[in-house]
């Protein structure tokens, strides 16, 4: 008796990846490749050999489905338990839910845009390795949208501001910031899109969104958000690796690619950093229990980890993104400038704003010793006094917006935090205004794109937003005045919370 020695050997990871990915592709025989992949050459990126693409995760479709199914089982078990146990009552304070409103109305539609974007670039790239990675990411992003909609659905039963998230994304002034960011990437070519989203946004910047913020959600008792957040983030590690691989691949393929890639890194670092302004404010002002300050997070995730990344990429000739020094100069003012903006325009936002209480101001002063007491506390104390006198401050006039990031021009000079930063370009006889050198550079490199920006304030004045008065515009946003907007102090959310928690109504 002899045992068979030719039993099929289990494939090693590298071999399995090669068989299940590359070997599924084929050489076309009756159409030339440039006709099948017409977008691949539009941006000037030169690829000599797509077979040199290295996917470090070596995840094949069968393993992908197995692990994603396991993630989904875990996630929905928790979301289900959260709903069944009325766990929305366990969050630290109803003010916290406003951070979630901003996250879910701002980010969820971007997950869907990412689903579409990766399906598009997966089709546009001629290499099998890149096609498979983009296809997996496209499916991941659709999963993220779905998990977030489940969370919206639950919170929407108890709190205002969630129900018209899809309608608002295409209309509301501050949601135009994330929307235009993604539309900008989607309307670029496939290589720029993947540099923008996979590298600059996911690899360099989204840690600031998902790590301290989701950890903050856990700290504030919001298990539903922690769960969809970390489940999404577990896919994100794969997406970040794709982003790094794309950069290395383009730079290894041809020396002519370096200046193009560096320009995209410069541009998309700045676009992404400006978008994260909203996250800075969520961390410092909207979490009743705070994990770390924006400044600490920026130091940890950008200065230290981003610094290591760019030191690593120096061998390819890549340097730190332009204007990164400005982000460091702004780290002790960004969240305060952003919160003041939403306090100014809280009558036109689908979430509530408020003034920090004394213990929160003490925390802010401790975390921002060089800036808070000198510059922001006097403003807040004035606003608190006005509110107590029955004159809660709202800014009565629509703001001037930056032509590129579309954020109101709230940022201050890099070397003078008491003076608004104004930058301007003239193009074909028109004035264009910017919040920063970073946004001005982006316009000057592609003016034909950004002369078309859909700027919410200008659109209102052109008569495209339901009318010229604030109530008319709010109706067009489907934002219910008196319920979804205004100060937290006067909100139905607060009244309900006090009723549910058995707290005495104050004042």
């Amino acid at each position: 008796m002899s045992t068979p020695t030719s039993a099929p050997k289990k494939l090693g990871l590298r071999e399995k990846y090669a068989r299940m990915t590359r070997d599924l592709a084929w050489e076309p025989s009756y159409q030339p490749k440039d006709k099948i992949y017409p977008q691949a050459g539009l941006e000037g990126i030169k690829i000599e050999d797509w077979d040199r693409w290295e996917d470090p995760f070596r995840l094949t479709m069968d393993a992908y489905w197995k692990y994603q199914a396991e993630k989904e089982r875990k996630l929905y078990a928790i979301i289900d338990a959260f709903a069944q146990n009325n766990a929305q009552l366990n969050v630290t304070d109803a003010r916290y839910v406003n951070a979630l409103k901003l996250f879910l109305t701002g980010v969820t539609p971007l997950e869907y845009a990412a689903h579409r974007g990766f399906a598009m670039v997966g089709r546009a790239f001629p290499g099998a390795g890149a096609q498979v990675a983009c296809q997996m990411q496209s499916i991941d992003e659709l999963r993220h949208v779905q998990t977030q909609i489940h969370t919206i659905s639950h919170y929407n039963k108890y709190f205002s501001g969630f129900e018209e998230w899809r309608h608002m994304h295409d209309r509301v002034w501050y949601l135009s910031v994330p929307k235009s960011f993604f539309d900008d990437a989607m309307s670029a070519g496939p290589f720029e899109f993947i540099t923008a989203i996979s590298f600059s946004f996911e690899y360099v910047l989204t840690n600031l969104l998902f790590m301290p913020f989701m950890s903050g959600a856990a700290y504030n008792g919001d298990m539903a958000t922690v769960t969809f957040g970390f489940s999404a983030q577990s896919d994100e590690a794969r997406h970040m690796t794709l982003g790094l691989e794309v950069i290395k691949f383009m730079l290894e393929q041809h020396p002519d690619n370096l200046p193009i890639v560096q320009r995209w890194i410069d541009k998309w670092f700045w676009r992404g950093y400006r978008l994260l302004t909203l996250v800075a404010m969520m961390m410092d002002y909207m979490l009743p229990k705070r994990v770390m300050s924006w400044q600490e997070a920026w130091e940890m995730y950008f200065e230290q980890n981003g610094g290591a990344l760019f030191a690593d990429l120096a061998r390819y000739g890549i340097r730190m993104p332009r204007h990164w020094e400005v982000s460091v100069k702004e780290k002790d003012r960004l969240s305060h400038e952003a919160w003041a903006t939403f306090y100014n325009y809280g009558h036109a936002a689908a979430f509530h704003t408020w003034m920090p209480d004394e213990s929160e101001m003490a925390w802010l002063a401790e975390k921002y010793p060089a800036s808070f007491d000198a510059r922001y506390r006097p403003r807040y104390e004035h606003w608190i006094a006005e509110e107590r006198a029955g004159r809660r401050f709202y800014n009565p006039t629509l703001p001037m917006l930056c032509q590129v990031c579309q954020i109101p021009m709230v940022f201050t000079e890099p070397d003078d935090p008491t003076t608004t930063c104004y930058r301007e370009s003239h193009y074909h006889g028109e004035h264009y205004h910017f919040c920063s050198d970073g946004c001005k550079d982006i316009f000057d490199a592609e003016p034909e794109k950004y002369v078309q920006s859909w700027l919410p304030v200008h659109q209102i004045y052109q008569g495209h937003c339901g009318g010229g008065s604030v109530p008319e515009v709010l109706r067009w946003y489907r934002l219910e005045a008196g319920r979804d907007n205004l100060d937290y102090l006067s909100s139905p959310d607060r009244q309900n919370w006090q009723r549910w928690k058995g707290e005495a109504a104050a004042g």
């Binding site: 003041a340 403003r379 004035h382 800014n395 703001p399 078309q452 859909w454 200008h458």
Partner: protein, 120 residues
Amino acid sequence: MSASATVLAYRGEPKDTAEHFHGNHLLYLGWDRHLMFCAPVCVPLPPDTPFSVLTEQVLPAAYAQHPDFARIDWNRVEWLLDGQPFTPDPARTLAEQGIGHKSLLRLRTPGLDGLGGSAS
């Protein structure tokens, strides 16, 4: 190397040229060292608006909530039009003195430095 000829030949339609604003021009106004108003503001005005309408109606509507506003000595205000020092004539129209569509007009009020001197 750069992008293909197709990309370089691309032309966009500017969205905010003056003819889209029903006879108005957009004017941006910023009050330096008063960051309680988080950003400069944007107002639509007919180009034949006399400058005095700005000081008598538009600026009070925008800024009167600030305690410094009532203390402004209008004879001492320093104006910057599109980055250049500017001396307005209250009787002449915006268009007559070079205040055009999407111009930026900043005012500086020496001695008034915001809430508690904090530039707020």
